[in-house]
């Protein structure tokens, strides 16, 4: 495969020199070397997994750039190569990195990259979904650790092949359900919903959503239009499909996969269970040029150790109504409305619920100022429950939203921790998404058997 950027390889020595110089400078400062402190283990130029190592990014669209932004805040990895089939995108990112004195080799095809880049330890995959499995499996086969965006694949078979490749290679495969590394979510799960506290009591229902306002399809500069044969070579019919791949069935998984997968994963993770039945409705009701449905309403049934749980999930791409994106767990002692956005997150204690004094004492939750009591005239029904006491989770999340998940991946490579979302775990969760999509498409309830989740 021709690589229009092969000539950059000639600049390898200069690039390496600049990286070593900048890394040495950073290392000197961060290790405290100027002040005679213990030397850092991150010796520039070393490539042992316990130290600074080289990575590449495949797929430089919106998600790839968000990941790159987070990676740039992690000083212990070096981006040495980038790969995208769209020269417009790779040139943009190459120039962006150059502003930070980061010189990278640029590739169009990940296979060429794997052949030429011999210093890589890991690869970040943020391509369209249908390329996840081929790229990830090639990288794993090449002996590299992989961080792959979710959904793992647009097909269940593709996702299963990734788990198989991971197991065969013995390398790590982290899937981009980044909430699993978010300290706010970890504390919410382990110290509030689960663990000894089980502060919400028995969870009986879940409600979640991700609603977005109607928008227009992505466009592209005329001068950056790729030729039809180039697009066809990589599986795209035309530029519109390339730019809006999420809406096409051979390329992506639609909104339940694109948005819902994150949140349905949280349902499963917080409950520590997988659904037993799913009912769903959805349709391509608004956008005329999309294959995937633009809205879906899903009801999952779970049988947990504590009893049955019914979980509603909706994704709307034509309205932002309903307060953005969240996952709300409702228990007999309280409810937790969890969101990546702390402003949407809310925690309520039922008036007759068990005491949360221990949570308050240990700073797991903090009380909000009491809301004023509603006027008697505001009460419309004698059976109305009194206003609930409101709390917050004071956990600080000051990093870019994907940074902890990437850090978990890199630290796992160094052997310092374990992946928070390994591919086999992610696949079990994503099977629940595939089941919901099946329910929408067949317009019938879908039974989820325990063996469906064996991976």
């Amino acid at each position: 495969m021709n690589d229009p950027f092969d000539h950059l390889a000639a600049g390898l020595d200069r690039r390496r020199f600049l990286q070593l110089v900048s890394a040495a400078g950073l290392g000197l400062l961060s290790s405290g070397g100027l002040w005679g402190a213990e030397p850092s283990a991150q010796t520039p130029g070393s490539r042992t997994p316990s130290e600074t190592f080289d990575i590449a990014i495949v797929g430089l669209g919106a998600q790839g750039r968000i990941l790159l932004e987070a990676i740039q805040k992690i000083p212990t990895v070096r981006v040495v190569a980038i790969c995208d089939i769209w020269e417009y995108s790779s040139t943009y990112v190459q120039r962006l990195l150059k502003k930070s004195d980061i010189l990278v080799n640029v590739y169009e095809d990940h296979r060429t990259m794997l052949e030429k880049e011999k210093t890589l330890t890991a690869v970040i995959v943020a391509t369209p979904d249908f390329w996840h499995a081929p790229v990830t499996n090639d990288c794993l086969s090449a002996g590299l650790h992989v961080y792959c965006e979710k959904m793992m694949s647009n097909t269940l078979e593709g996702a299963r092949s990734m788990v198989a490749a991971m197991r065969k290679s013995g390398k790590l495969l982290q899937i981009g359900h980044q909430r699993r590394s978010n300290p706010r979510y970890i504390v919410a799960r382990n110290r509030i919903v689960r663990g000894d506290a089980k502060a919400l009591g028995r969870i009986t229902a879940i409600n979640g959503q991700w609603n977005r306002a109607a928008g227009t399809d992505f466009g592209w500069p005329a001068k950056a239009t790729m030729k039809p044969d180039h697009l066809a070579k990589y599986g795209f019919k035309d530029m519109h499909q390339f730019r809006n791949w999420r809406w096409f069935k051979d390329l992506g998984g639609g909104p339940l996969s694109d948005l819902g997968a994150h949140q349905i994963d949280i349902y499963n993770w917080f409950l520590d269970a997988y659904p037993t039945r799913v009912m769903a409705s959805g349709g391509a009701d608004y956008y005329q040029n999309h294959e995937w449905f633009d809205n879906a309403m899903v009801i999952y049934e779970y049988q947990t150790a504590d009893g049955p749980v019914r979980a509603f999930y909706q994704v709307q791409t034509t309205t932002s109504a309903g307060g953005g994106y969240f996952e709300q767990f409702m228990g007999i002692d309280g409810s937790l409305k969890m969101s990546e956005n702390p402003k949407i997150t809310a925690l309520y204690h039922e008036a007759a619920g068990k005491s949360w004094d221990d949570l308050l004492r240990s700073n797991v939750v903090v009380a909000n100022k009491a809301a004023p009591a509603p006027a008697d005239t505001a009460k419309v029904d004698a059976r109305e429950t009194a206003a609930l006491a409101s709390y917050q989770i004071p956990v600080v999340m000051s990093k870019a939203i994907h940074q902890p998940h990437l850090e978990n991946f890199f630290d796992s490579i160094r052997g310092r921790t374990k992946l928070t979302c390994p591919a086999d775990e992610a696949l079990r969760s994503e099977i629940a998404v595939f089941k919901a999509i099946e329910a929408v498409e067949t317009k019938n309830p879908v039974i989820c058997k325990p063996e469906d989740f064996i991976v």
């Binding site: 300290p183 970890i186 504390v187 110290r191 000894d196 240990s362 700073n363 004071p394 956990v395 600080v396």
Partner: protein, 171 residues
């Protein structure tokens, strides 16, 4: 007749003592609180055994602390309202704000210890009258009523001050 010859009215004596200690505490703590503020600390979340939580999570907690630099005579919202009042000129208000906290602490201490009780009560009464005037002008009737209760207690203490015992000074 000297004090020595007066029969001891223990009810009134204890009533004055109670009022003195209550008003002294009220003034002292109110003055000290004018040097209080809260700050946000970021600390590790601890597990049930007191060790850092396995998640490595950090939590923001509010901590109350005292410092001279925190001094604020009245809440800023109240100060803003009073500043807009034409009958409260700045050349009077500013010195009042500057000494209010210190005077309350001093008066509180003298009343609790039992030094210059009448003078202390009179100064306390003067402070509350001044505050009442400000609240009347900005139509904070609730605050006026609140201060009126204090004024009543101060007046009662002054009436009962002849039953002063358990004090360092007799005045």
């Amino acid at each position: 007749m000297t004090d020595h010859d007066q029969p001891t009215d223990w009810g009134s004596t204890l009533a004055f003592l109670t009022l003195r200690l209550w008003l002294g505490s009220r003034a002292l703590l109110t003055g000290i609180e004018k040097f209080a503020d809260t700050r946000t600390l970021t600390i590790p979340l601890l597990d049930a055994d007191g060790n850092p939580d396995a998640s490595g999570a950090m939590v923001e907690v509010q901590e109350k602390f005292y410092a001279l630099s925190n001094y604020h005579a009245v809440p800023s919202s109240l100060a803003d309202s009073l500043a807009r009042e034409p009958l409260l000129p700045g050349f009077l208000v500013s010195p009042f704000y500057a000494i209010l906290g210190w005077v309350l602490i001093l008066v509180g201490l003298t009343l609790i210890i039992g030094v210059f009780n009448r003078i202390s009560l009179a100064i306390m009464g003067g402070i509350y009258i001044a505050l009442t005037a400000g609240l009347i002008l900005i139509k904070q009737d609730g605050g006026v009523s609140w201060l009126a209760i204090h004024i009543g207690l101060i007046a009662a203490a002054l009436v009962l001050s002849k039953y002063n015992r358990f004090s360092v000074t007799r005045s």
